[in-house]
Symmetry: C2
Subunit: 175 residues, 2 copies
């Protein structure tokens, strides 16, 4: 399954940390790419690229000016559009059906998502119908889509690798 | 299973959004309480209490000055201490064993967690050994502990309730 994440409505400076978290979660939990819609933010690009250089893998980051154009392009390419919203149908009720898709674009928004996002999406789905966090919703969505297999993902060409340990920090550097 | 979350090292202003997300995720995904260690932040208290008033449930929020005192108190009360760290053992490898605990304190940190947290914890566990987000780690940990049952949690005494819908927003208000 190929998964791309679209971060809707990124606001420069204000959203720096939350959007960075979204990028890192996308990478760590098995998405191929994040597309950030909003003003370009060099600090985020730098940060994610640094992680990629040290920790490996082939994760991609892109900025796009228009969420609508991006969403329509991905639809044309055969992606199933999954919009994360607390107003949607609980994800676990649709997951079997959604897992059949080979290519998925997950849209994660901020508070004011335009109505058209709801209409252009194939699924409006909720990770609980309670207010919480787009970062948590994204994580649970990635986990449900891949049925926990993303937790075992390996990253190629890493310079830094953690050797899991019961107590303390064990890091392998290959520079 | 009774779950409490301890947010380690909250920094006033700088961490406002991330800590608020941690609080809302704890509530939405079935924890009973969050204890925020660091400087008291009235804006967070106000925000979480407002959510609780409108959306129901009996979630609690506390500030504590000393993480160490809090952690030791919870240990004495029979809580199993689960420290989320990317250096730890993958959570999925320990989850069967951990699920036997009746009371769990999940410790989520910032970058600089003191060594003693590792030693005082019963489990140092990782949600992937990659750098990402304490919000995502918390969400996946809550989900693994409760085996997706938290996604069905109901909140009593709510003034606002979402009626899940395929397309659009359907909200029930009972004021």
């Amino acid at each position: 399954m190929e998964i791309v994440v679209l971060r809707y409505g990124h606001r420069h400076v204000r959203d720096y940390r939350v959007t960075t978290h979204c990028g890192l979660v996308s990478r760590a939990l098995g998405a191929k790419k994040i597309i950030i819609c909003g003003e370009q933010d060099l600090k985020i690009i730098e940060n994610i690229n640094k992680i990629k250089k040290n920790w490996g893998g082939d994760f991609e980051l892109e900025f796009a000016e228009s969420w609508k154009k991006t969403l329509k392009e991905y639809k044309k390419q055969g992606f199933t559009i999954l919009h994360n919203t607390m107003y949607g149908i609980p994800l676990q009720k649709k997951i079997k059906e959604i897992r059949k898709a080979k290519k998925i674009l997950i849209v994660i928004g901020s508070k004011k998502v335009e109505t058209e996002v709801y209409h252009l999406s194939d699924y409006n789905i909720a990770v609980t119908n309670q207010p919480h966090s787009e970062i948590a919703s994204l994580a649970i969505t990635l986990d449900l889509l891949q049925d926990r297999k993303e937790l075992e993902k390996e990253f190629s060409n890493s310079k830094i690798k953690i050797i899991p340990s019961e107590n303390g920090k064990h890091v392998e550097n290959s520079k």
